[in-house]
């Protein structure tokens, strides 16, 4: 059996008295994709923050490509290496870009930081990335305020790809986009996976989006995993009552919402 890209064991994070994440384990294969499904307070974003080093686990282990990632990086260089391997795309493209930085400078900064090279080689790489995510010359020279939500999210994705990560954590990365743009970005993410072999962790409350982009899924509630399996099995034949409730809460043709209490 090949070594998984990411292995999480008995991960726990306590804030004060409250366990936000309580004994979560999962693995992501190289080139694989995992959805973390859950509502507010389920602990899904806390897991994302621990994966990219923004939070330290209270206990449990994070192993990335055979290397322990549970403890803090010991040097600036190590921190940068880690950051290059796992990258995060945020939900809101309106607050995650620097408004005073042109798009090309924003992407070039990531190239300089993670990949180095001369101005010429970076420019060539920038053009490849822009082509991959669908940004034109004019948009590269623009400031974020001149771009739509979908264009901004393309910039965020290009910047993440500049680091050539092995794992991208998508934290509700398409939730704020209009339907027609969401489809474009979802197709783009599928294309990028085909082209680069990158792994995804998709954190989402949107089960249809989860189905489109991932093969495996875990369902979380109050910091624990309540169900796991292939995404198709979880959505077509949920076993746990909570997963069934989530599934039944999705509006669809002929859906009549029911009042559960009162």
């Amino acid at each position: 059996m090949t070594e998984p890209l990411l292995q999480i064991d008995a991960l726990r994070k306590v804030f004060g008295e409250h366990a936000a994440v309580d004994g979560v384990s999962f693995t992501v294969a190289r080139g694989g994709s995992l959805a973390i499904v859950g509502e507010s307070g389920s602990g899904k974003t806390t897991i994302a923050r621990m994966l990219v080093g923004l939070e330290r686990p209270t206990s449990g282990t994070i192993t990335f490509a055979g290397q322990d990632r549970t403890t803090a990086a010991r040097s600036q260089g190590e921190r940068r290496t880690r950051a290059g391997e796992v990258q995060l795309v945020f939900q809101d493209p309106y607050t995650s870009l620097d408004p005073r930085q042109r798009v090309e400078d924003c992407i070039d900064e990531a190239l300089r930081l993670f990949r180095g090279g001369t101005t010429g080689t970076r420019r060539a790489r920038l053009e490849v990335l822009a082509e991959l995510v669908g940004l034109d010359e004019r948009q590269l020279r623009a400031f974020p305020r001149a771009l739509s939500g979908g264009q901004r999210q393309r910039v965020a994705i290009a910047r993440v790809l500049a680091a050539e990560p092995q794992l991208i954590v998508l934290d509700e990365a398409v939730a704020a986009l209009d339907v027609s743009i969401q489809a474009q970005v979802l197709n783009l993410l599928a294309d990028i996976r085909d082209a680069t072999g990158v792994s995804y962790i998709l954190i989402s409350h949107d089960l249809a989006v989860v189905r489109h982009l991932t093969e495996e899924a875990i369902v979380m509630r109050n910091g624990v995993v309540v169900e796991r399996g292939t995404t198709a099995a979880i959505l077509d034949d949920p076993q746990e009552p909570y997963t069934q409730l989530l599934r039944d809460s999705v509006p669809r043709a002929g859906w009549r919402p029911q009042r559960r209490n009162s």
């Binding site: 507010s40 209009d178 339907v179 979802l186 249809a208 489109h212 809460s249 043709a253 009549r256």
Partner: protein, 323 residues
């Protein structure tokens, strides 16, 4: 029976960067008592502006033409007094309840304010009515809730409070602007169930604004689809999914990932949604439309009746979901 809410050729202009620009163009539809109409569109389509025109919440400097009638009274042209009386019948529920309450005042102050100040109801009476209405929306311990602050309530509970507060003045029209978008999916289902019950029991005329075509289809009798400030299609919600008549509606249906089936590629709509003042001279959707003809770019198609609804497309009869 006349419609409770009637929009006829509503056009709204705003001053944007020194130029006057139309943000809504010739919108016409109506809502009867007890009827729910969905208003669906992407960013900049004008759905919130439509709600604002009905509620009298247009930005300063906005100019209008056409008619907005509430119970027969034209609220765009009548005098302040008649207009005010008509709009007393209109309740509004917004997307983010936390952005619409004063965080340092108690729930009770917020809920009873309108009754006490505008309707001269005594404090005790107003509190009693607030507790009653909270029970109606599924909040049993209302008296305790009235003494709490907004931050002590979850998002779903606070949205129930907002809905209750909007019902205190006995409205006949409910305008709901993405009321469940900020909520979790299971909470959304509960709040939707509540809104659905209330409008049936109270016979409210409801305008339900959402970006989610599936949600509108599930809870509204009819749905209006807006694009770039124009009405593209108005149709029975049930038909909108199975037999959309406008290419834009069909494209929206196809662009959504399907929860019931694994697909590898989505039918994305090229380009991005346009706002009204960016829209081309002809059909606003033509640049992104797979059915577009040269004629579509020459002149804007008129809204015409079809299948018991309305559609703004010359090729509506040819639109297919599978191609």
């Amino acid at each position: 029976m006349p419609a409770l809410v009637e929009l006829e050729d509503l056009t709204v202009w705003l001053r944007v960067e020194g130029a006057t620009r139309a943000v809504l163009s010739e919108i016409s539809f109506s809502i009867g008592a007890g009827e729910a109409v969905g208003l669906v569109g992407e960013s900049g389509s004008g759905k919130s502006m439509t709600m604002r025109a009905i509620a009298g919440l247009l930005p300063t400097g906005a100019t209008t033409s056409g008619h907005v009638r509430i119970d027969g009274v034209d609220v765009l042209t009548s005098g302040e007094r008649r207009r005010g009386t008509a709009r007393d019948k209109v309740a509004v529920v917004f997307q983010d309840p936390r952005a619409h309450v004063n965080p340092v005042r108690r729930i009770g102050d917020f809920m009873t304010e309108a009754l006490r100040i505008n309707h001269g109801v005594s404090k005790d009476d107003a509190r009693r009515r607030a507790v009653d209405i909270l029970r109606e929306v599924g909040v049993p311990d209302g008296a305790r809730r009235l003494d709490q602050y907004p931050h002590e309530l979850s998002g779903g509970l606070l949205q129930r409070v907002m809905i209750a507060a909007s019902l205190l003045v006995d409205p006949t029209v409910l305008l709901a602007d993405e009321p469940t978008t900020a909520l979790d999916v299971t909470t959304q289902a509960e709040v939707m169930a509540l809104i659905d019950d209330l409008r049936r029991e109270r016979g409210l005329a409801m305008l339900f604004i959402t970006h989610d075509l599936d949600l509108a289809g599930a809870v509204c009798d009819r749905t209006v689809v807006l694009y770039a400030g124009q009405l593209m299609e108005e149709q029975q919600s049930a038909r909108l999914h199975s037999k959309p008549r406008h290419p834009y509606t069909a494209a929206l249906v196809k662009a959504r990932p399907d929860i019931g089936a694994t697909s590898t590629r989505l039918a994305a709509i090229p380009g991005r949604p346009l706002s009204s003042f960016e829209a081309p001279h002809g059909c606003a959707f033509a640049p992104r439309c797979s059915y577009s003809l040269p004629a579509c770019e020459q002149a804007r198609p008129e809204v015409r009746p079809l299948d018991g609804g309305h559609v703004r497309c010359v090729r509506a009869e040819e639109v297919q979901l599978d191609d």
